[in-house]
């Protein structure tokens, strides 16, 4: 996993981070709103925001793909995409650097095989100006 671009802002400022994700060719991950209840969604959760607040995640529009193992097309993410995260720098944040940390949970499949859900570490470096 690579690092998202560093974000910077003054106290009280709104900042946005983009978290790049790439799924290997031939594979997919379920979207944040899977087509079936039993499927595990892609989900980013924050474990520590540091001097940031909020952390609302905007997921990209999923694609609907038909696979042999499902009757209906499934809502998935494939290839390269990014998650947009909205933060606000806390009003009492001390100037200087910091890191917001989170976990991206995903569950991948290809056309006939699925792999156990995993979590990838997400680190967003920031600078309070």
């Amino acid at each position: 996993m690579g690092e998202p671009a560093k974000v910077a802002g003054a106290r009280g400022a709104a900042v946005q981070a983009r978290i790049p994700v790439t799924v290997d060719p031939g594979f997919h991950v379920n979207s944040n709103h899977p087509s079936e209840e039993y499927l595990i969604p892609l989900k980013l959760t924050w474990t520590s925001l540091g001097a940031l607040e909020g952390g609302q995640v905007a997921y990209p529009a999923p694609t609907l793909e038909k696979y042999e193992f499902a009757d209906k097309p499934l809502s998935v993410f494939t290839g390269a995409f990014s998650l947009a995260v909205s933060f606000k720098v806390a009003g009492n944040a001390p100037p200087g650097p910091g890191v917001a940390t989170g976990k991206l949970r995903y569950q991948a499949c290809n056309s006939n095989t699925c792999f156990p859900p995993k979590s990838a570490d997400v680190n967003v470096a920031y600078q309070v100006q």
């Binding site: 790049p20 790439t22 079936e36 042999e68 792999f115």
Partner: protein, 196 residues
């Protein structure tokens, strides 16, 4: 900007089974995926609890043909195969055949029991653990299904969604295998008969 990458292992391709017809007797079946006897390795024994809390050992089923299916409730391809296994269980349970399911859900019975009830699964299912998965090569890709012969050896492995016919042919071939005498590994002799 850098990206992180999901990687996974591609599953192996699966061969289709072949039918051979006979006259007056059981249909002779030869599944392409079933290994010759001399190439088969012993299926590792395990001790896992079923939905009733009873401990299940694979060795309890020595003398029977067994489908050992590693699956999970979140696995779409697994959900396709499970009704096939229910049919096989229903048709062959009196012929020395059993299906055993090993659910790999992290949530355990909380996730698995409702699924079993909804589908009316008619064979024994246990919740798996890392130790058992490691004994069977890690089982990172689901479904992974082992076809085990009457002497407790692995006759075929299917990684990923396989064909229903390949399972049916493989089971039939192993059920029709001639009677053999095999060591149980404890000095005891196990005599297993052929298909009825």
């Amino acid at each position: 900007m850098s990206a992180f990458r999901f990687s996974a292992i591609l599953s192996t391709a699966l061969a289709l089974g072949l039918f051979g017809a006979g006259c007056g007797g059981p249909v002779a079946v030869k599944a392409a995926s079933v290994k010759p006897e001399k190439e088969r390795k012993v299926a590792p024994d395990f001790a896992l609890k079923d939905a009733d809390g009873k401990v299940v050992h694979l060795s309890d089923y020595r003398g029977k043909v067994v489908i050992l299916d590693f699956w999970a409730t979140w696995c779409g391809p697994c959900r396709i195969e499970i009704p096939w296994f229910m049919d096989l269980q229903r048709k062959n349970k009196d012929r020395g055949f059993e299906v055993l399911g090993v659910a790999m859900d992290d949530e355990g019975w909380e996730a698995v029991k409702p699924f079993l009830a909804d589908l009316g699964v008619n064979y024994r299912v246990m919740v798996g653990d890392d130790i058992t998965a490691q004994m069977y090569g890690g089982v990172d890709a689901l479904p992974t299904t082992f076809l085990i012969d009457k002497t407790g050896k692995i006759a075929a492995v299917h990684v990923g969604l396989a064909s229903r016919r390949d399972f049916e042919d493989g089971v039939e071939q192993l059920l029709q295998a001639p009677a053999t005498v095999a060591s149980s590994g404890t000095g005891e002799l196990v005599v297993s008969g052929g298909a009825k």
